[in-house]
């Protein structure tokens, strides 16, 4: 089939020509209409939250940095290293290496425990699937969301870091707030 140049012609819809009355309205009229909203807020006073000095409390079901838990009575870790969280994780950011409990060295309640438990926070998408997958409620999502760091490798959270009580940085929204 011979090439038909007409089929490649693109028609362009142009806006109104600049200048004239219409142009002046578009420059001043519309700008003033927008500024009306801005100046209207001036009387309301400042509404800025002075982050990081001041923080917005998060909701109880907020999904922040993970926490690992221990049994309060025995002090044993709840995590048995079953790796179900790693299986559920869509970002593939959890790595679990299990080991066996011995009578001399009992770490968790079950037969096995997590010898290595790492979450790579730079990959985590905070979906909370790990919490849902956990059969022992060993991992939950906390409230902390301030996870920035200077070094990528510092964002790999180890078991010790996840077990430790995180520094209270983020206020939790109280009931009914």
């Amino acid at each position: 089939m011979p090439w038909n140049p007409e089929s490649d012609v693109v028609a362009v819809d142009r806006g109104p020509e600049p200048g004239g009355l219409g142009g002046a309205y578009r420059v001043f009229g519309e700008t003033l209409r927008g500024l009306k909203t801005s100046f209207g807020r001036v009387v309301e006073g400042t509404r800025t939250v002075e982050y990081p000095e001041e923080k917005v409390p998060v909701y109880p079901r907020w999904r922040g940095r993970h926490k690992l838990h221990k049994f309060e009575d025995t002090g044993l870790e709840k995590c048995v290293g079953c790796s179900l969280c790693a299986a559920a994780c869509p970002a593939d950011c959890i790595r679990v290496v299990a080991a066996e409990n011995t009578p001399m060295d009992r770490v968790s309640g079950g037969e096995r425990y997590a010898a290595v438990y790492e979450i790579n926070m730079s990959r985590c998408i905070f979906c909370g699937y790990c919490e849902i997958a956990c059969p022992f409620d060993a991992i939950t999502m906390g409230s902390d969301f301030e996870l920035a760091d200077y070094n990528r490798s510092d964002l790999i959270f180890t078991k010790e870091m996840l077990l430790a009580e995180p520094p209270v940085r983020t206020p939790l929204r109280a009931e009914g707030e």
Binding site: V80, G81, C82, S83, L84, A86, A87, V96, A98, A99, E100, G110, E111, R112, P135, F136
Partner: protein
Amino acid sequence: MPRPEIETINFTVDGREVEAPAGTLLADAAKLADVDIPVFCYEPKLGAPVGACRMCLVEVEGIPKLQTACSTPVRDGMVVNTETPRVKAAQESVVEFLLLNHPLDCPVCDKGGECPLQDISFGWGRGASRFAEPKRHFQKPVELSPLIAIDRERCILCYRCVRFSQEVSEDYQLVLHDRGADTFVGTFDGHPYVAPFSGNIMELCPVGALTSQAYRFRARPWDVEQSGSVCTLCPGQCNVSYTVRDDRVVRVLSRENQDVDDGWLCDRGRFAYQSTYADERLRTPLVRQDGELVPVSYDAALRRASEILVNAEQRVGALVGGSTSNEEGWLLRRLMTEAIGSRDFDSRPAGAVSAGLQAALDAPEAQATVEDLEWAHAVLVLDTEPVDDMPVLDLRLRKGIRRHGVRLAVATSRPSALDPNAEISVRFAPGAGEAFVCALDAAIGGVGDVGGLSRAAGADPQAVEALGRMLREAGEDVVVLWGERLTHAADPARSANAARALLKASGRLGLLDGRKGSGLLQVPTVSNARGLRELGVLPNVGPGYSEPAAVGRSSREIAAAAAAGEIAALHLLHVDPVASFDDRALWSRALGRASGVIAHAAFLTEGVREHADVIFPAEASAEKEGTVTHPDGRLQRLRPAVGKPAGALPGWQVLAQLFTALGGRSTALTAMMVTTELAEAVPFYAGITHDEIGGLGVRWQDRDAAAAFPAGDSGPFSLEAPAEAVSPNGALRLGSFRSVWASPEVAHAPALKFLAPKQRAELNPEDAAERGIRHGQRVRVSVSGAAATPSTVEATAHLRSTSPRGSVFLETGLGAQSATALTPDETTVPAMVTVESA
């Protein structure tokens, strides 16, 4: 019994009409219609079904009660329903019943994620249990053996492991104790379940009751990848699947290949992967400087190695063994012939059979396959112990006898594990294999002096006659499974005579005329012996069994020449002759005298440690790429499952670089290119590629290129009078055997260490009584007669009533405690020893 001819029938399952071979069990036949019938206890590999778990209940029209699909053969016109409410109710009830006592500890169970019970509960179960009472409890995991942990709570009593022990490996150790809900699996006397094939029960277990101690809590199924390859620890070359986590092998599973391993693995193949991560494993090249081995870079090691080879001025000998792939063997051959100009290389520990005889023994017409062992009319096991030399064949032979009525005859010098299954067992004197084959040939042919020859072999003439009669009359499908040891006599003329006798006897049975289902199958001493032979890594055979331009020295001649100073440098490719060859003292002297020794080794075995000047680290089985050839001619492909230690070069590349450094022209950039190169050189491998070999391998005999196989010696074969077995005359004949556990891989695998053999002297109780020796006592075995340097080996007396009188058997492969250590000056293991209490 030859393979039966199978008709096809039509039957209907869930409204779909399908064709199926007659006699197929419903559980298998339904798969042809894409209908999945859940099963627990049914496993075709275990033989006849037992119908123990009741999971596979289906409705068959015309039969009022539900039937177990696993034990009901399909009939023509059968109408089967697997999705009716009755079947559904039955399936749900069975799952609920099986879960009554099954603990809900899936998160801590190693089977979780690859567990048939999980899958079937999910697919066919009701989802909730009505059982509120407490569950049955047992002590949590107990050791069934140092390799296997058993959690009896999880057991659903499917009988698979017990059936394996009773009917497949026939070690008769596992039984079910007690009754009802309290039933549990264990050994009869409570001893650990230690057997060469024990690891298979973990793979068979459909729940997490039997788990691997070595793999315990190492990974979950979603953490790992499976990577298929081939085990190269023995000539069996079983297909395996490596479980890899974080670039480390953590488990080895069987990868079923009907033509090779039938889906089983021995414990050595299953657990020796651990040696890959042993601290003792070599990871960098070593060079000897001032008597010390120091780690160096590959460049420095290659420089030193090429110096050694150049300085030796063609006086270089090479030995090839172990798990050498075809590619490495080929490059070594090119290095020796093209760059160095020496023909002194060998891949056999001993013996030298000519190219013509070798071609006759390996001819496609005379070749039996592994599968033929199970369908033959009769099988003769000749001078080999399958469970030690090629373990997986032991299971195949037992299967043939049990299920297909194969008649087995065993002819060995040491009592065999297969004796109880054999119709006839004949013993001959250690080392008298040649005389025995001559006697057997006479007995089969009904000509010649059977009595005289049998006595020369130290065998019972009547038993030899009976054996000959049995083989003659068993039927047309006879397979002779013969050990390469038969042709390992010190005198090459004796080896050749043994090979001719074997061919002559086989000819009489019609094994050489190309009939499918019968023939010869060799059990070599080196795992890739067949491949190396076909590539011409032999002093007297060229590529593809051609007659070579010049004949070089064989292993023993290399040793003698090196000890005499005629060979200056030795190249040891994956073999340590001091540790594994018969003539230990000679090799020790040869390596000591050589001015340069280059070795490729994974571990510092004694000969390498003491004598090697340059050592290149050998790849582990799971790291290797290339091809190997099974003793029945099946080319199989090794695929790397994990990466090599940082900076390590593959073995073929080291050889290729050495080849280039010595002025050779190697254009191979990948292992595959070497495969292409060798496929061009061997006429009957022509055009073979990695793709064609694929996952299950391909037998070159089944390809068109097999027509290019050269004609070997065709006979008639004239036999010489064989060497006579010496009469004990007060002393004892010394026989040797190599246990399946005698290898550096076993010694360095933490899980298998407890199996590493210790020297034991197997004696007949009457011989022992004459010498006042009791079972378990320490004894000294020494060379009788006036040896120049008397040598002794200490051993534990092991009295076996089946052991023939007048002989004592010692193990080899145990370093200074080997039978081979009894060799003072001579080149062979002495024939006569005395045994006394230590």
